[in-house]
């Protein structure tokens, strides 16, 4: 396989005051890969996602998408004295893109605790994600000069809904959907931003084995159909082991293992992190 790099996270440390949430994390996602990010609760997985998507500016380190920097920082101001991580002198620049800019560059995400737009319909939820690529301005859009563009957006949104079996719910309020469908809608909405990299934060949370099995196939299908890479946080080991090309394991904010599913399953440090040590 041609290893074309999509995402490169280098030496990311995220510190809130004196608390180190992510410690010197480096990872890579190559084109077409599905990568798993696992670890016990509180290991810093979601924080890592928030750094990659620009919700938090990292305390130190760099994130690149297709070779261009989307976040870079080094300990500054008060943080200089408080900093507990490594590689303090390695980075000098400061780049902080807002989440919307990063989304525009090609990273889309879902949220661990579903964050749909509550007051909007299923279709509208998907349409919002297409807004940033719209060409018409406020007046053009308000006065319907862009009717053709709007119609095309609706059509694409409907295609996405159909793929997730949500076409029948298009005019329902997003929050009136059952839980599993809400998770699907979150993925559909993320795909509507036309990403190159999709970040899924516990997509199978709260699903029964059959549902999570279906989800696993769906993720595979998405990769093929949309020609993208996936980075996912998940606790269902069945899903992770069944679908991921490579897996990164976090514990206490730091990377403790990396490898293919088989390697991870047999890695003593991972077992220790999950099960504790026998005395």
């Amino acid at each position: 396989m041609n290893k074309e790099n999509v995402l490169r996270v280098s030496d990311i440390t995220m510190q809130f005051g004196g608390v180190v949430a992510v410690n010197n994390l480096s990872l890579e996602v190559n084109k077409g890969e599905i990568i798993g990010l696992i670890g016990p609760n509180g290991a810093g997985k979601t924080t890592a996602f928030n750094v990659i998507t620009g919700v938090y500016a990292p305390t130190n380190g760099m994130v690149e998408l297709n070779g261009s920097v989307i976040a870079e920082n080094h300990p500054q101001g008060k943080m200089k004295a408080q900093y507990k991580g490594e590689n303090a002198g390695k980075y000098t620049g400061k780049t902080v893109l807002t989440p919307d800019k990063i989304t525009k560059k090609g990273i889309a995400r879902t949220f661990q605790n579903i964050r749909l737009f509550k007051g909007m319909t299923v279709l509208e939820n998907v349409l919002v994600a297409m807004h940033m690529n719209m060409k018409a301005g406020v007046f053009g859009s308000a006065l319907r000069f862009n009717a053709a563009e709007e119609a095309k957006m609706r059509e694409e949104a409907m295609d996405l809904l159909r793929m997730f079996g949500l076409e029948g719910n298009k005019d329902d309020l997003a929050t009136s959907l059952p839980y599993g469908k809400q998770r699907h809608l979150e993925i559909a909405r993320a795909l509507a931003t036309k990403p190159q990299l999709l970040l899924l934060d516990e997509p199978a949370a709260g699903m029964n084995p059959q549902e999570s099995d279906e989800l696993m196939h769906l993720v595979g299908k998405i990769r093929e159909q949309f020609d993208l890479s996936v980075l996912m946080i998940e606790h269902h080991m069945q899903v992770i082991m069944g679908i991921c090309d490579r897996i990164y394991v976090l514990d206490y904010g730091a990377l403790i293992a990396e490898g293919n599913p088989e390697e991870i399953q047999n890695n003593p440090r991972v077992i220790e992190a999950y099960l504790g040590v026998d005395d």
Partner: protein, 410 residues
Amino acid sequence: MTERINGSSNKRNMVLSFIALAALLVLVYVLDIVIKPTSSWNNLMTCLEKGTIYALVAVSMNLLNGFTGLFSLGQAGFMLIGAYAYAVFAIAPEDRTTVYQYYEGGGLIHFSLPHMLQDMMGGADAFGGAIGYYLGIILLMIFAGLLTAGIAFLIGIPVLRLKSDYLAIATLGFAEIIRSFFQWEGLGPVTNGSNVLRKFASYDSSIFPVLVAGVCIAFIVMLINSSYGRAFKSIRDDEIAAEAMGVNLFKHKELSFVISSFFAGVGGALLAMFQNNINASPFTSNMTYEILLIVVIGGIGSVTGSIIGSYLFIACSEWWLRGLDKGEFLGIEADFMTPGFRKVVFAVVIMGIVLFYSRGIMGTKEFSWDGLFNFFRTLPARIAGIPGKIKAKFSAKKHKKNTKKVKEAQ
């Protein structure tokens, strides 16, 4: 929501809307001719005009508070800018010395756009003159809106970075700053300081404010139903998710703020024309509160609600509840019904709505023909169902009582 892909019913609804609007305009026109200013029915015209103007301002506030989730309390300040921007340039040169009596030579500005265009297009008695006059009024109103929008743009740069209640207090603060700025004697030659501005050009048919406000509200509704409207609503529902979906928060908040202020400015200009005089002192936070309460009564997030809310609010405060101030209301006479009592009753009703009926009249729903037809279609069935409902309620109450008794017994 209101949009349906369903073509045929969509077309029918469009036709119905046009017919209804045309009928409404004709009605206003006829009423305007029939009702004499001296008749007691003139209250109706007052409420119609003022209600329409407040409807525009309330809808513009709803665009911010209800559709973009920005709790802004600057509306009175923006209306003030619009009112002054209009009035200052619409006073005929010959009246300037009387209006600006405390300033040498009748102030700094010596022209009136409506009067100027009137003269250019044939004078006061010619048809062309009348057109010129109204053209001047409309151009000035657009200017008033643009000036307000421009100032809002500048205010928005610092203020829109703030969250909910901080935003509320900062916009309230800016409205106060605007007010004291317009009352400043240093600006007197332009704004007439703290004195009243009057004798400026105004409309003479009630149909004018109805038309202007109608066009403005129609634009706001179309905006809300456009892709930008969806982006606004996504910010309201969840800022973090909206940003993650590529919606530029600052740009869209600023856009909503500026557009809302534009219409608040136009509303202010209309209010100035309605009152025939304008002064900065009543544009206080209290005025903003009243507009906010209208939005709440109608339902935060419903344009139709804001419109209904405005007419109800204005009709109550200007007309229906007047009797409460004069000692007689619905045939009841009482000594405590002295001036001001109406507003107390009114405030109690509003508190009741806020506390027990917080969704307002419309909630987040909008008027739709389908909804209306559905209402009438299901009305008989629902009326027939009422006795059953009451019964159910009673038995539920009884059940509650019984369980309580059982609990107590235990």
